[in-house]
């Protein structure tokens, strides 16, 4: 678990990021009920920031696992 910490961070933030970035506004707000009272662009920003964290966490995991030349 400890070795794969960044992998889990990447997966979790990647999923949250993908959901908020690419999910339709009505789907996030009405179907899932996680709109947080925000507008579409705010959801996109939350998603994009989560994607940033997720992608870099996956990169860190890859560097830990395979090294960086």
């Amino acid at each position: 678990m400890e070795n794969n910490r960044f992998l889990w961070v990447g997966i979790i933030f990647g999923l949250i990021g993908s959901l908020y970035t690419f999910g339709k506004y009505k789907f996030i707000k009405l179907t899932l009920g996680i709109g947080l009272g925000l507008r579409h662009n705010d959801h996109v920003m939350i998603g994009i920031l989560s994607l940033c964290v997720g992608v870099v966490a996956l990169y860190r995991w890859l560097v830990d696992r395979y090294g960086s030349r």
């Binding site: 960044f6 996109v44 920031l49 994607l51 870099v56 990169y59 090294g67 960086s68």
Partner: protein, 253 residues
């Protein structure tokens, strides 16, 4: 195993690189009549800063890390453009939302990263190149803080994004950046002694801002912060965080 970079080092490194990247890009947009819009500039600098900060803090600084951040930051920013609703009237204003701008953003990011990492931190190249790279970083950082003040002020006062787009002009911005770059090159290359450098740097910067802004005392007062903060941060970064003995003056003759 990834190399460890301290939190403060990653923070200051990312501040300088992302400021320079965004303002290099903004200057290009001003030159090509593409809108420099406070909301998009803030989104862009947030994304670039976050990607670079996390990469530097979690993985480290270096060639591979630089290439990764230079590509991932602009690509994620392009995704934002694709998905977000436009806040500017696209029929009137052209913004950098086409695919080709990814390459411009990568190019600007790479210049900023190489200037700080290769020439200032690792001291590659001749003394002239090192002083030139440092002057580029400082000039664009000052330009960034000055521009954020101007754009933010109009945005808060008018809440009209179409007025904000008209705040910055290419000519004035270019003159300011060129003036600051030449001034800082002379300061960092020829002057010795931290105090002398600091005094000439501040007086020259404020004088330049005063003249180029057409005699705006308000901009000069803001300039105390927008010119002073990058100098303090760079001095702190080079002397305390990275461990170079004598801060910015070490790049002089």
């Amino acid at each position: 195993m990834a190399r460890d970079v301290s939190f403060r080092e990653a923070l200051v490194f990312s501040f300088f690189v992302s400021s320079v990247m965004v303002m290099l890009d903004a200057l290009y947009h001003l030159g090509t009549s593409t809108a420099v819009h406070i909301n998009y500039v803030l989104v862009k600098i947030t994304i670039i800063f976050l990607v670079l900060f996390l990469t530097t803090y979690w993985v480290g600084k270096g060639k591979n890390e630089g290439i990764f951040a230079c590509i991932v930051g602009p690509v994620i920013f392009y995704i934002y453009y694709l998905v977000a609703d436009s806040t500017l009237n696209r029929a009137v204003f052209k913004v950098d939302d086409s695919f080709g701008y990814i390459f411009l953003h990568i190019f600007a990011f790479a210049i900023a990263y190489i200037a700080l990492y290769n020439f200032v931190l690792n001291r590659r190249g001749s003394k002239e190149i090192q002083a030139g790279a440092l002057s580029l970083i400082m000039a664009f950082s000052v330009f960034a803080l000055d521009s954020f003040y101007r754009l933010g002020k109009v945005q808060i006062q008018t809440k009209n994004e179409e007025l904000v787009v008209a705040v910055m002009g290419f000519g004035e911005s270019l003159y300011l950046v060129l003036f600051l770059m030449v001034l800082y090159f002379l300061v960092f290359y020829y002057l010795k002694g931290g105090k002398t450098q600091g005094i000439v740097y501040m007086i020259g910067s404020l004088l330049g801002v005063y003249v180029i802004s057409g005699g705006s005392v308000e901009r000069v007062l803001v300039g105390v912060v927008s010119a002073g903060l990058p100098l303090m941060l760079m001095n702190y970064y080079l002397s305390r965080v990275v461990g170079m003995n004598n801060g910015v003056k070490s790049n002089g003759k």
